[in-house]
Symmetry: C2
Subunit: 352 residues, 2 copies
DNA sequence: CGAATTTATGAAACCCGTTTCATAAGCAGG
DNA sequence: CCTGCTTATGAAACGGGTTTCATAAATTCG
């Protein structure tokens, strides 16, 4: 590897001081045209690129942010990330992606990794941190964990996406999942369904809780009974969706005519299990998801779902973080986006 | 935000020099037990975290790498990334994710963005860079672009995943797509297919070229004619797959009995179009993909595909990069992985 | 043309760690 | 108790920029 050129090298060869070089680099003070040209020439000649570490050290700003998420392999997150990326780039930030890899391991490890990443990000002097899911999404978040996040928040601006840390005052960008889940359920009720199940998610995670809450509210409002044995949690993956649907179909008695799934992946798994079991979706069984990941529009039948406005979520979070970093104006603690019902092919009136 | 504690603060309060603080931080020289305890106590008390910028500045290593990819929203990349992440974390690296956003724009913009990111990464003093797809995957890569990459490679170790820059000597980790595409095609031929089409990809991208090459080789070896009007490019998305399949089905004359798709997304789109057109897959039409993204196992019917060993690809690339960075041993320029045929439900003998 | 400004530039401090080199302290052996 | 060696510690340089402050040069004005 070539050893890099520094301002000192440039200054020497141009017969000026480093201060002058710095000035032409940053346009921070007038420099005589001839001098400027000479220096600029050398910069081009050597393709000089100032060392961002040194610059950040004194400027106390790095233009780097950290993004912590549980599993990049879950298609929800790349969508959010795409929104984040877009806005961050526009504002001149680059970002560390910190994947805590929730998919492969138990939740304890995930928290450990989250802690590690938080520490690393602080050491690397990021200007801000965005957390999606994870600890902050655990409903029964322990005091200790909440404290750690509070400590972090004292050192660096923090924005949560779709997370909720009880009793804490953090900046959050959320979509109103309760209202959304209500809308989904009402859509099914409106089609004539009365026997509706709910599957997927983790009961200790706030997103699941909120979605389930919306489901219950809609049922209650329509004066329909909620069958507790038709509420089955277990995760957010396609595999889990299949298993949960299998279990539902294996139960005694009349099956539900519609199933609200905690997210799209579970919904896709549910469709698979239903089709494998010889049912026709939506004729025999209506199925809905939540998230509106790209694949939801690509399965057969196309999945009716709740758009969580992933990209907008990402963009908004990046904006909020930027405002916090630049301290230009006070920012609301809570920004709420409205989700949107996307009606596709996986829902129809019940056959009977 | 709290203003951060520094080694100087610690040193002062502990009545020692910063050198001693540094020594207990890094265990780089013996320190009297009592002194060490006193300092460690203060470190804990203030939750002191050394500034990585300052440390990296003098150590000339940042523990950061850059990953440049065209579109995180394409599920192939998160899989590779998961492998990268795993290995990188193990080795103590964090990474910048640089998404050039190829999905939304023309290829010129993508290159511009790639250049920008390369510059930013160099300024930020990353220890190494991994590039997936993008410019390096363009077959007719211009001299200028090749030069830029060569320049970068002089400054920082560079590893390409599945890319090929003609006439250049870079470290690359690839899977043998030609052999893989042959295997896929031979699988179809073995089932009895004779009329096989190929859709998807971009003719100017090397991955498409290699996959098509494998297809042609298998056909030739089986002494089957390749119908050039059954080879249709146009992209890597589900949408493109649908369109291309529609076009294929709209053509005059006897349709193909099998279609090799350039990747899984195109394959999924192709299935959709075929089903919409009233065909049954695989009875009326066998369809294959390439990549083995998670969704390939989740569509109906499950997609027969070529596993590109995404995660292994990521892990291997991270390893190669690490070896280059640590200069511990010389590294082969080319590392080749063997892809694996994954037979699922979307292929069967032709109906006739 | 000399005084008063304005503009261009350099020296040095600073950011926050690590590392070298020198010195001081501690300790064993004679 | 003194010599010689090991161990513990501090002062200062260093990494590569930015910024302040002072000075030198150039310009305007009376």
């Amino acid at each position: 590897m070539m050893k890099p050129v520094t301002v000192y090298d440039i200054a020497k060869e141009a017969n000026v001081s480093v201060a002058t070089v710095s000035r032409v680099l940053n346009n921070t003070a007038p420099v005589k045209a001839s001098t400027r040209e000479r220096i600029q020439g050398l910069i081009n000649k050597y393709q000089f690129q100032p060392n961002a570490l040194a610059r950040s050290l004194i400027k106390k700003a790095t233009g780097m942010i950290g993004i912590i998420l549980p599993d990049i392999t879950n298609p929800f997150f790349p969508e959010v990330l795409a929104g984040l990326e877009q806005e961050a780039r526009k504002r001149g930030y680059t970002y560390f992606l910190c994947d805590t890899g929730s998919s492969n391991q138990d939740i304890k490890d995930q928290y450990k990794r989250e802690s590690q990443y938080l520490n690393i990000l602080i050491e690397k002097q990021v200007d801000g941190i965005i957390m999606i899911g994870g600890r902050i999404d655990l409903h029964k978040c322990s005091k200790e964990m909440a404290n750690e996040v509070a400590e972090v928040n004292k050192r660096v601006p923090l924005v949560f996406i779709n997370g909720n840390l009880p009793g804490a005052r953090y900046h959050r960008v959320v979509v109103d999942e309760t209202a959304g889940a209500m809308r989904v359920t009402e859509h099914l009720i409106g089609l004539g369904h009365r026997d509706i199940a709910f599957i997927g998610g983790y009961p200790q995670m706030s997103n699941t809780v909120r979605r389930l809450e919306g489901f219950r509210m809609a049922m209650e409002r329509a004066e329909l009974p909620v069958r507790e044995d038709w509420i089955n949690h277990g995760g957010f993956s396609v595999q889990r969706g299949k298993e949960l649907m299998d279990r539902l179909l294996g139960m005694e008695g009349k099956p539900p005519t519609a199933v609200v799934c905690a997210n799209d992946l579970v919904g896709i798994g549910a469709i698979k299990a239903a089709v494998k079991a010889g049912l026709q979706v939506p004729r025999d069984l209506s199925i809905t998801g939540v998230d509106d990941v790209p694949m939801a529009a690509n399965v057969i039948p196309e999945l009716t779902t709740l758009s969580l406005k992933c990209r907008e979520l990402g963009r908004t979070a990046a904006n909020v973080l930027h405002l916090l970093i630049s301290k230009s104006e006070p920012v609301e603690l809570l920004t709420t986006l409205q989700p949107e019902l996307v009606i596709r092919e996986s829902t129809s009136p019940p056959a009977g």
